[in-house]
Amino acid sequence: MMKVVEGSYGIADAVRCCSPDVISVYPITPQTHIVEHLSEFVANGMLDCEYINVESEHSSLSSLVGASAAGARTYTSTTSQGLALMFEVLFNVSGMRLPIVMTTVNRALSAPLSIWNDQQDTMAAREAGWIQIYAENVQEAMDLTPQLFKISEDPEVLTPSMVCMDGFILTHVYEPVKFLDIEKVKEFLPPYRPEYVLDPKDPKTFGAFADPSWFTEFRYQQYQAMVKAAKKIEKVSKEFEEVFGRGYGGLIDTYSMDDAEVALVTMGSVVGTAKEAIDTLRSEGVKVGLVKIRSYRPFPEEELKRALQDASVIATVEKDLSIGYESALLTDLKGAFYNSPIRTPIVGFAAGLGGRDIGVKQIRKIVEKASRVKETGIEAELEIFDVKQECL
């Protein structure tokens, strides 16, 4: 069934179709309607699940640690400062190999106080051992929800996941979406039956003390699980497409990349706007294409190298900064190419910070600047885009 709904409602319905056993959330700012709709589903008897209102995001994720270790399918959602408050627990979840799925709504981190969209929050959590996939539109964020439960719960992966979706731009938009069929989702995503659970009759320890003679091996296994997750993301994407008829590519997707001289690399909702800009630029004869990063963790190193090998200039467009050294995606992408024979210039644009709108005009400007690198060489590896000099 297709219907026009608010993005948050679409996500809540996708979560309902995944039949979570426990949802634990902090319902107050910063939060979205996602958890509000879920609480309505539970209250109306549309979702049979333990719904816990807690006093902070630290507690929401901590309570899911217990529930997940006891064998429950668990879900939460947060954004910006809420994710920052979860930071300690993020590492506990991934270290204990608990397949919690969280919709992380991307919003700027204070200060200065901002409620608007950028991706600084999840980018700051990129080392936390969570799978991170960025959605271009509401439908993709919905469709990712059962996929990520399936990937996270895979015994070879057992790694938590974040569905990253741009705050306001995707959570508050009304647009037509296809609703998931709960029966089909049940078939696609069977109940969670973990091999190891907390059980008083068969006691085990999760998150045990690990002295230096053990710690490295835990981290090694987590690292290997993330490598396996990359394969599973590809596989589950294909399975989803077969069952539901909607595909988005695997770890990455490409747009208009045949013969592209300038290649943009970006992720999240700005991909849609960039595609519009590329269509216009192509009609004017500008050879520009786009690589959309879906999976940022695991990082699609090989796929990116393959997709970008023939470009003359590569430009990242990202909504975060690593204050002190560039921006996360730019640095990661350069790292992917360093030991390869490909020496294409790579420049980065940090744009859309704190919700500054990125439109077709801004993308055109970025493509124009990147094109110039072909003649002039790299002048600045990172440009913080659209700075108002008169305000400084």
């Binding site: 741009d166 647009e175 849609g272 595609k275």
Partner: protein, 179 residues
């Protein structure tokens, strides 16, 4: 693709109006999108919302800078906001006012359509809430969506006598600008 920008004051329901246009356009078998200009909403402050209607899936996610249509729910905004900013010369701006278009001295080449939506809303709904009434005017002035679909969209939000009253207000406004 047609792009629409709504201007109102916080609490006057432009965001709901944009959503209803998106729902109605989808009823007409078109793709649609609606979203507010995200801000810290305060009652009475100038607020914007946007909608897009297209025969193709809509990928663009930026705000609307060069609208085909502008809907102004509160005429006092003309003194504080450049409501016609970027409006396409072949477009239309629909304003809730009891004045005539020529008396508004708007800086635009686009057609200015006026409708006394406040009077219609007071007479029909008994309250000066004009967002749904303005949808009737939009329908009549642009033909971008059918009256039928707007009515269906309204009934997803308002049921019973409130729904009926809103439909009546929409019809009056539709006829007011169509004639």
């Amino acid at each position: 693709m047609k792009e629409i920008r709504f201007h109102c004051r916080g609490g006057q329901g432009a965001v709901t109006a944009a959503e209803l246009i998106a729902i109605a356009a989808f009823e007409d078998k078109k793709y649609s999108q609606a979203f507010p200009a995200f801000g810290v909403e305060r009652r009475g402050a100038p607020v914007m919302a946007f909608a897009r209607i297209s025969g193709e899936p809509i990928r663009i996610r930026s705000q609307v800078y060069e609208p085909d249509y502008v809907i102004v729910q509160d005429v006092t905004l003309l003194e504080v906001v450049d409501v016609a900013s970027g409006l396409k010369p072949e477009g239309k701006i629909i304003i809730n006012t009891d004045r005539e278009a020529k008396d508004l001295s708007l800086k635009t080449k686009a057609q200015v359509v006026t409708i006394d939506a406040t009077r219609i809303a007071l007479e029909t709904l008994g309250r000066p809430i004009v967002n749904t009434t303005m949808l009737g005017a939009f329908c009549g002035a642009t033909g971008e969506i059918s009256l039928d679909s707007i009515d269906k969209a309204i009934l997803t939000r308002f049921s019973g006598s409130l729904g009926e009253k809103n439909l009546a207000a929409i019809k009056t406004a539709y006829e007011g600008v169509s004639s």
